[in-house]
Symmetry: C2
Subunit: 346 residues, 2 copies
C-alpha cells in the first residue's frame, strides 16, 4: 500500500478529500476526532505526502529555522533558555501549520559560512538568528538574499529586519543603582570573552550607571570570562587577587555565580558579605543557590511568543494576522532581590 494517495484515504474513511487534506495539514478547522482518525489511517496505510514536491510547487517548506551555537568546548551557553523559548515559538507556529527546526552552528564553523549553507539547502522559509555580534555579516547576507528573518539580539550592522533583545543597559543601570545605594563604590563587571553584542550593551549601561552616580570609570574593573561555572571561578580568582579589591560584581551570566561562590568558599569568604554579587537572568538555579542570587527575570514564554509573532508579521502570507509591522523592541527585565548583594563590609 506504499502508493496510497489522499483519495484512497478519503474513500477508506468515508469523508471528503478536502477534510483529509486539512487534517493532514493540521488545519484548525477539523474536528479533533476526525483528525485522529485520519492520522491513524494515514499511518496504517503508509501515506506520506511528498513535502519536497509541495515545496517546489508552493515555494515554501513550512518550516522556520532558529540558529543557535553548539559546540564541544563546554562554554556553558545556557540552552535551558532556548528550550523554553522554542516551546513558545512552536505554539505560535502551530497556528499556521509551521514547524520550528533548530539549526545548530558548531563553534568550529564560521557562523556566516554555516548560514549560507543552511540557506542553500532551502530547508526553511525564514530564520531566527541569535547570539548577534557587534558587527554581524549574517544580517546583510539575509537581507540581500531576501529571506525573512528576525534577530534575537541587536547589532551595529544596519538592516531592515525586526529584532528583540533583552534590556542589558537597563539591567546594568538598575544593578549599579542598587549596589551604590547599599554603599558600594568599587563595582566590577564580568563580561563575556567574545565579541557578542550584549557585552557592549552591558558595558554601556555600566558606564551610564557610574556616571549618574558620579563614580569614575576604572577599566581595571571590567573583567572578561567565559559565561560558565569555570568562567565565574576564574573571575572570582581575579577579583580576590586585586590590590584594591572591588566590593561587588555584576555578572553577565547566572551560571558564573556557581563558580564564583565556589572560589569564595575555597577562600573562606561569603558571597553577599565579603563580595556582593548580582547575576543576570533569573533561573531555577538562582533561587536555589545559597545565598539566593539577586538577578533579573523575564518570561521566556512571552519572549518566544513575541519572537514568533514578530517574525510572521514581516512575512506577507501571515502579516494580516500580525499587524505590528517591523518590531524592534528592547525586552524589559525585572529585579528579583536575593541574598547575594548585601552592603560592603566596613
Amino acid at each position: 500500500m506504499a502508493k496510497t494517495g489522499i483519495r484512497q484515504l478519503a474513500d477508506h474513511l468515508g469523508i471528503s478529500i478536502g477534510t483529509v487534506s486539512r487534517a493532514l495539514n493540521d488545519r484548525p478547522d477539523v474536528n479533533p476526532e476526525t483528525r485522529k482518525r485520519v492520522l491513524a489511517a494515514a499511518t496504517d496505510f503508509g501515506y506520506v505526502p511528498n513535502q519536497s514536491g509541495r515545496s517546489l510547487r508552493q515555494g515554501t517548506t513550512n518550516t522556520i529555522g532558529f540558529i543557535v551555537e553548539s559546540g564541544t568546548d563546554g562554554s556553558g551557553s545556557n540552552d535551558n533558555f532556548f528550550l523554553e523559548v522554542f516551546g513558545a515559538i512552536q505554539h505560535v507556529f502551530a497556528r499556521h501549520n509551521l514547524d520550528l527546526v533548530v539549526l545548530p552552528c558548531s563553534t568550529d564553523e564560521d557562523p556566516l559560512h554555516h548560514l549560507q549553507r543552511m540557506v542553500s539547502r532551502r530547508i526553511v522559509d525564514a530564520l531566527i538568528i541569535s547570539a548577534t555580534r557587534r558587527k554581524d555579516p549574517r544580517i546583510s547576507f539575509l537581507a540581500d538574499a531576501h529571506i525573512p528573518f528576525i534577530t534575537l539580539g541587536r547589532s551595529s550592522t544596519p538592516g531592515p529586519h525586526p529584532w528583540l533583545d533583552l534590556d542589558f543597559e537597563g539591567v546594568a543601570n538598575t544593578a549599579m543603582d542598587r549596589l551604590v545605594a547599599k554603599g558600594h563604590r568599587r563595582i566590577a563587571l564580568g563580561l563575556p570573552s567574545n565579541d557578542i553584542n550584549l557585552g557592549f550593551l552591558l558595558l554601556d549601561g555600566y558606564k551610564a550607571g557610574l556616571e549618574r552616580q558620579e563614580i569614575a570609570f576604572d577599566p581595571a574593573l571590567v573583567l572578561r570570562a567565559a559565561s560558565s561555572e569555570q568562567g565565574g571561578y576564574q573571575l572570582a580568582h581575579e577579583v580576590l587577587s586585586m590590590g584594591n579589591r572591588p566590593t561587588a560584581v555584576l555578572l553577565v551570566h547566572e551560571l558564573m555565580a556557581i563558580g564564583l561562590y565556589r572560589r569564595m568558599n575555597d577562600a573562606g569568604l561569603e558571597p553577599g558579605k565579603d563580595l556582593s554579587v548580582i547575576g543576570f537572568r533569573e533561573s531555577p538555579l538562582s533561587r536555589f543557590l545559597i545565598p539566593a542570587l539577586t538577578c533579573f527575570k523575564l518570561s521566556l514564554r512571552d519572549l518566544g511568543q513575541a519572537l514568533g509573532e514578530s517574525l510572521l508579521a514581516t512575512i506577507p502570507a501571515y502579516a494580516e494576522h500580525y499587524p505590528q509591522g517591523t518590531v524592534r523592541r528592547v525586552w524589559p527585565m525585572e529585579l528579583v532581590p536575593g541574598d547575594s548583594d548585601g552592603p560592603p563590609r566596613m
Copy 2:
C-alpha cells in the same frame, strides 16, 4: 544577477564547473583557498542552489534530524548535554556534506504525532530520537516507514534499529556498592516522574545492587520528582519528612542536587554529612557545587561521534565508511568521587 548559475560563477572565477560545484557542496577535495573564493563569489552574485530541486532528483535532503523535547514547563531537561552532543555529531556529518537539524517536540504535543509530521515534511533523510519511553511507538513507526534512525536510549519496543544508551544499571550498581561500603543501609532513589525508559533501568540497577548487598528492597525509598532544581528540593523535603529517614540518596539528574542542597541548608543540615548524595552525570555544576557532587562522567564528544557514526553505518550510501554494522551499545560511565557522600552519622 539573481539568476546567476553555476556556469556564470565558473566563468567569472576562471575555474571548472566541477570545482565550483564541489566547493559549493563542501566536498573535501577542494583547495581551501579556492573554496573561499567560490563562496565569496557565490555570495556576491547571489547564487543559491535550489536544494528543493536537488532533493527531488536525488531523493535526499542531506540533512539528518535530531528530535529533542522542548517545552515551557521548566522541567529542567538538561540541554547543555545536547549542545555538546550536537557539536560532535556535526563533526561526523561534515565529512559527508550532511547537516544536523534539531527538531524540538513541544511537551504539549504527542511525540508520535510530532514525529509523523516531521517525516511527512521530508526535511531529513534520517533521524536520531532521544528520551525513549518504556514503550515507544515512534520506533515501530520509523521502522515501518523504512527511515534510517538510531535511538539515544533503549526501549522495550522491539526494532531492528541501532541504539546507544548510558549505563544506568552500572551507575546504580556502583553507587549502591559505594554507599553500602561507607556504612549506608537505607538508601533512597530519586527517579524521574514520567515513563522515560532510563527510570526503569536505574530502578533495575538499584534493586540488583540491594540484592547483592543483601539489603531488602523497600518501595517507600523509591521517590519520584522532576529532573530539576525544584524536583530536588521537593525530593529532599520528602526525605527529611520520613520517619525512618534514609541516610543516602541516588539522584537521576545532577540538577536535582542544587535544590536538595538548598532544602538541607534551610533545615540546618549538611549534604554529605547529614544525608549523602550521589548525582548522575558529571557536569561543570557538580565540580563547583559545595560540597562537590559525587557523580559519573562520560565524554559527550565520544558519545556524539558514536551516535553519528552508528547511524551512518546503517545507511547504504555511507555504510562502506562505517563497517560496524548495527550498533547496540551501553555507554560506560566512570565514577567521579566528590565530597557529597560521606559515611552516615553515628
